[in-house]
């Protein structure tokens, strides 16, 4: 318990104690009071994060130590890190991870490239260009469920537009006389038709957001730079590669990082288009795998390990992107 005298002694050198008129003595220094207020204001956010993020995260970690019994009602076994080792080295997990990475590799770059293409096309002073901008960004207003239903219909084997195409396991995994895909590593990353179908749906659904992001990025590039480049003798192609794209790089980097995280968390379209992880588990991405373990296998121990693995992979990926991609971004304005 601090007394008024303590508080006065608490003053650091240079802060002469006020002598006249005698101020109201306070129990805590100004600094301590401000810090107290700061923590008080942080409290609501801390409670929300604690309840919905930190506690579940730790609890998840803890759950991973227990293996779920084969029959409901039996007690859980503490198995320590064994379950982590078993699950993370299982072929189920590795296949699922590969599927997830393949899904991200298809959806993220293609989505960004198409977004840039549409944004550049719509970045014109033309009558009625607003109509195109509205069309291009409209998928933002559709939910992934709507996208899944649209593409589910389009791709339906019975009534869809692409009925003739052989569906599974993959047209690409068939022996191909032109491209040598006999190398097992490459083979395993060649997507199945079902994964491509889900990826196309995802790209379409994300295109609106990608378009809006890239348009905003383009608007931040002054027109005068384009004009200067034009007078300096650069053609449209050269202007795009040497002026537009570098100045768009912060936006692209942002879209890349956020898009990758989204891709690693994709679930809705996969569940709706290819239930139960798709034919031969070809769309069994990590999030779906977790859901499958919880919902159908009722194996919450394994699901907890998978959830933590997803977190780790996403974190690692983001760090790698910041480490290797960000140096190519030019933030100067």
């Amino acid at each position: 318990m601090s007394t008024p005298a303590d508080a006065a002694l608490d003053l650091r050198p240079g802060e002469a104690p006020a002598v006249t008129p005698a101020p109201r003595r306070r129990r805590f220094s100004r600094r301590a009071r401000e810090a107290g207020l700061g923590y008080l204001l942080l409290l609501p956010a801390f409670v929300i994060f604690g309840v919905f993020v930190f506690y579940p995260f730790l609890r998840n970690f803890y759950l991973g130590f227990f293996s779920t019994p084969p029959f409901p009602g039996q007690p859980k076994n503490y198995v320590g890190l064994d379950q982590y080792r078993d699950v993370l080295s299982s072929s189920d997990f590795l296949d699922s991870l590969k599927t997830t990475i393949t899904f991200a590799i298809i959806t993220v770059p293609v989505g960004i490239a198409l977004g840039i293409l549409l944004a550049v096309l719509a970045h014109q002073k033309l009558r009625g260009i607003g109509i195109y901008r509205t069309f291009f960004s409209s998928t933002v207003a559709t939910s992934i469920a709507v996208a899944a239903v649209i593409f589910g219909t389009l791709l339906s084997p019975q009534v869809g537009l692409l009925q003739g195409i052989q569906t599974e396991p993959s047209i690409l995994q068939n022996p191909d006389p032109i491209v040598d895909i006999s190398l097992p590593v490459i083979r395993s990353f060649i997507p199945s038709v079902s994964l491509v179908a889900v990826a196309v749906t995802t790209i379409w659904q994300n295109l609106g957001l990608s378009f809006i992001l890239m348009s905003a990025g383009l608007q931040a590039v002054p027109d005068e730079l384009q004009e200067a480049a034009e007078i300096d003798g650069a053609g449209p192609w050269s202007r795009f590669w040497r002026v537009t794209l570098p100045l768009l790089s912060p936006t692209i980097f942002f879209a890349f990082v956020v898009g990758s995280i989204f891709a690693f968390q994709a679930f809705g379209q996969i569940d709706l288009l290819t239930p139960r992880g798709g034919p031969l588990k070809t769309t069994n991405v990590l999030v779906y795998f977790i859901y499958d373990q919880l919902q159908f296998a009722k194996n919450d121990g394994k699901a907890a390990v998978l959830a933590l693995a997803l977190f780790g992979v996403t974190l690692l990926l983001t760090l790698v992107q910041f480490r290797f991609l960000e140096r190519r971004v030019s933030y100067e304005r």
């Binding site: 005068e224 004009e227 007078i231 300096d232 003798g233 650069a234």
Partner: protein, 362 residues
């Protein structure tokens, strides 16, 4: 280097006519200044020469080619923008090199030209910096270097000094004139600053509302403004202009203005007579007015602004119109609120038709 010719060029945006039947010939190695208030169409005219805007009517020639159908990148002109428009992600070296690279100049030649140009502009130590790390004056030089490096037929400059502070502007103005002398360049220079126009241009072209008002050497434009707009636009403080009615007394022609009658010199009077003008506007520059007794025109001293080397005596005529008189600092100081006479050197009087606003010449 080459000439630039603009022939009968009109530019309309929707229902606004930005430039109206503009005709102008800029000779090889001439420094021509396009001067006018903001929104007068001078930048649009420059952008049409550059190829950034397409004229609605008329033709543009650069060198010996008509360039209407030639894209900006192939017109062989360089432009300096008001914002400099440096590529923010490139170093100074790469900025200056850009026009050469775009034109596929071989590397050794490119290096030589970049080095030569940046040296000329005193940018040697800054080659590896990016524009964000440069001061305003340095950026301006980089923009100039980028324009100069490939020796185009003509330089187009859009208010290149207006983003500099006053002191740097005076310095850069002088450097630009020197540089131009060294390069022997054809320059079309857009500005709203009449000091820049007066000091830098071989000739000035004055635009108002898209219409060319007058073209000529700075001193000619100053001494013989073609119309009221030019008279009021050129000169600081501006020319005094007072409207009045033409009166004839004993065979001499005078103009009745508030506060007195001003007699026109014989030839000017007969010119007014010949045209049968009833209403005219008299113009006189502040330095051509003398305060003194014994003048027929009476005014009251309102405010005296002393600038050190000179002073501006602001007087009011009978009806409240302001008249500015410029005095040397060593002339006895008039008394504020006192009544004074305004004497005009008759040979320095400008007369304009009150209706057409055109100059009346003797």
């Amino acid at each position: 280097m080459g000439r630039v010719a603009v022939k009968g060029v009109t530019k309309r945006f929707a229902d606004v006519t930005a430039v109206d039947h503009f005709t102008l010939e800029v000779a090889d190695e001439e420094f021509l200044v396009l001067l006018g208030p903001s929104g007068c169409g001078k930048s649009t005219a420059l952008r049409m020469i550059a190829g950034l805007e397409e004229p609605t009517e008329g033709t543009i020639e650069i060198g010996d080619r008509t360039v209407n159908d030639i894209e900006a990148k192939d017109r062989d002109v360089a432009m300096v923008f008001q914002s400099y428009a440096l590529y923010p992600h490139m170093t100074v070296r790469r900025n200056v090199e850009f026009p050469l690279k775009s034109r596929k100049v071989p590397k050794p030649e490119r290096d030589r030209l970049v080095e030569e140009t940046t040296k000329m502009l005193g940018l040697e130590g800054l080659l590896e910096r990016k524009p964000a790390q440069l001061s305003g004056g340095q950026r301006q030089r980089v923009a100039l270097a980028r324009a100069i490096v490939r020796r185009p037929q003509a330089f187009l400059m859009d208010e290149p000094l207006s983003n500099l502070d006053a002191k740097l502007r005076v310095q850069t103005r002088a450097e630009l004139v020197e540089l131009r002398r060294r390069l022997g360049a054809t320059i079309v220079y857009v500005t709203h600053d009449q000091v820049e126009a007066m000091t830098m241009g071989d000739r000035i072209a004055i635009l108002d509302q898209g219409v060319l008002q007058q073209v000529g050497p700075p001193q000619d434009v100053y001494a013989r403004p073609a119309n009221l707009f030019v008279a009021r636009f050129i000169g600081n403080p501006p020319m005094n202009t007072v409207a009045g009615d033409v009166s004839r007394v004993d065979g001499t022609v005078g103009v009745q203005i508030p506060g007195g009658v001003i007699e026109l010199p014989g030839t000017l009077g007969s010119a007014v007579e010949r045209r049968g003008l009833e209403h005219v506007v008299l113009g006189v520059r502040p330095e051509d007015l003398i305060l003194g007794e014994g003048s027929p025109v009476r005014a009251t001293v309102s405010v005296i602004e002393s600038l050190g080397h000179e002073r501006h005596v602001i007087c009011r005529l009978e009806d409240g119109q302001l008249i500015i008189v410029r005095q040397a600092a060593n002339v006895p100081l008039p008394v504020e609120a006192s009544e004074v006479g305004l004497t005009v050197d008759a040979s320095r009087l400008h007369v304009f038709d009150a209706v057409s606003e055109q100059r009346v010449d003797a």
